[in-house]
């Protein structure tokens, strides 16, 4: 799985794609630009991916969030 974020005037999506095929798996509109790299971590065997959302330069909607998503358990 690969994650990538984006930002625009109306949305700031965080996407997940299948790493091998590029098939879109999931997306979440964070509301503002996702411009930095996400990170993964594990707590008690549960995995999370976390990313900052706040990019608002060049006319894009700004924000100030850090979002964390739990990855589905295997």
């Amino acid at each position: 799985m690969v994650f990538v974020g984006s930002g625009s005037n109306i949305a700031g999506y965080f996407f997940a794609y299948d790493a091998k095929t590029g098939e879109p798996l999931w997306k979440f509109n964070t509301g503002s630009g996702v411009f930095s790299s996400p990170a993964v971590y594990m707590v008690n065997g549960e995995e999370f991916v976390t990313v900052a959302s706040g990019g608002g330069d060049r006319g894009r909607r700004g924000g100030d969030l850090i979002l964390s998503f739990a990855l589905p358990k295997q």
């Binding site: 799985m1 690969v2 994650f3 990538v4 974020g5 984006s6 930002g7 625009s8 005037n9 949305a11 700031g12 999506y13 996407f15 794609y17 790493a19 091998k20 095929t21 590029g22 879109p24 630009g33 996702v34 411009f35 930095s36 790299s37 996400p38 990170a39 993964v40 971590y41 594990m42 065997g45 995995e47 991916v49 990313v51 990019g55 060049r58 894009r60 990855l71 295997q74």
Partner: protein, 162 residues
């Protein structure tokens, strides 16, 4: 400038060839001396690599085309041009990622042609470094960001490369 370069980390030599490729040199600016070639990375099969985002403008609204012209990559800057990837486009600024599991390199890029008259688009590509081939490419609305390759579902082993 829209391309992925794959180099031997010890010597800096390209894994597949980089060819100095002739580019346009006509310019209306007095005193300008455009460089006549630019280094374009090629694949193992000798063909040019696919760029990480368009290097010729795509999907330009007709209103823009009425007053400006589309120009090839590396055309010297002049009036009334629409060019790609644009100063705000290309593989700005995200690090690439690599997965030892898939063996692929992942590159995020922006399609934002100069004077396009339309919103920027994100491009996300997976390349096979052993051949230079583009394996898959997705587009999405909006700009780019950093990306992460997650490794090893079952073992929960995760890492991020800058």
């Amino acid at each position: 400038m829209g391309y992925l370069y794959i180099l031997n980390r010890e010597t800096g030599q390209p894994v597949h060839s980089i060819k100095e490729t002739p580019v346009p040199t006509e310019t209306t600016r007095p005193g300008e001396h455009p460089w006549p070639t630019q280094p374009i990375p090629h694949k193992a099969n000798g063909q040019p690599m696919s760029p990480v985002c368009p290097v010729f403008p795509v999907d330009i609204p007709s209103e823009q085309l009425a007053t400006r012209k589309l120009v090839p990559h590396f055309t010297p800057v002049g009036p009334n041009q629409i060019s790609a990837p644009g100063s705000g486009g290309g593989a700005n600024y995200s690090p690439i990622s690599y997965s030892p599991q898939t063996g692929l390199l992942y590159v995020a890029a922006i399609d934002s042609p100069q004077n396009s008259g339309r919103p920027a688009r994100g491009y996300f590509s997976a390349f096979d470094p052993t051949t230079g081939e583009l394996v898959w490419q997705r587009t999405f609305e909006g700009y780019r960001a950093g990306r992460l390759r997650r490794h090893g579902w079952r073992r929960g082993l995760c890492w991020q490369r800058q």
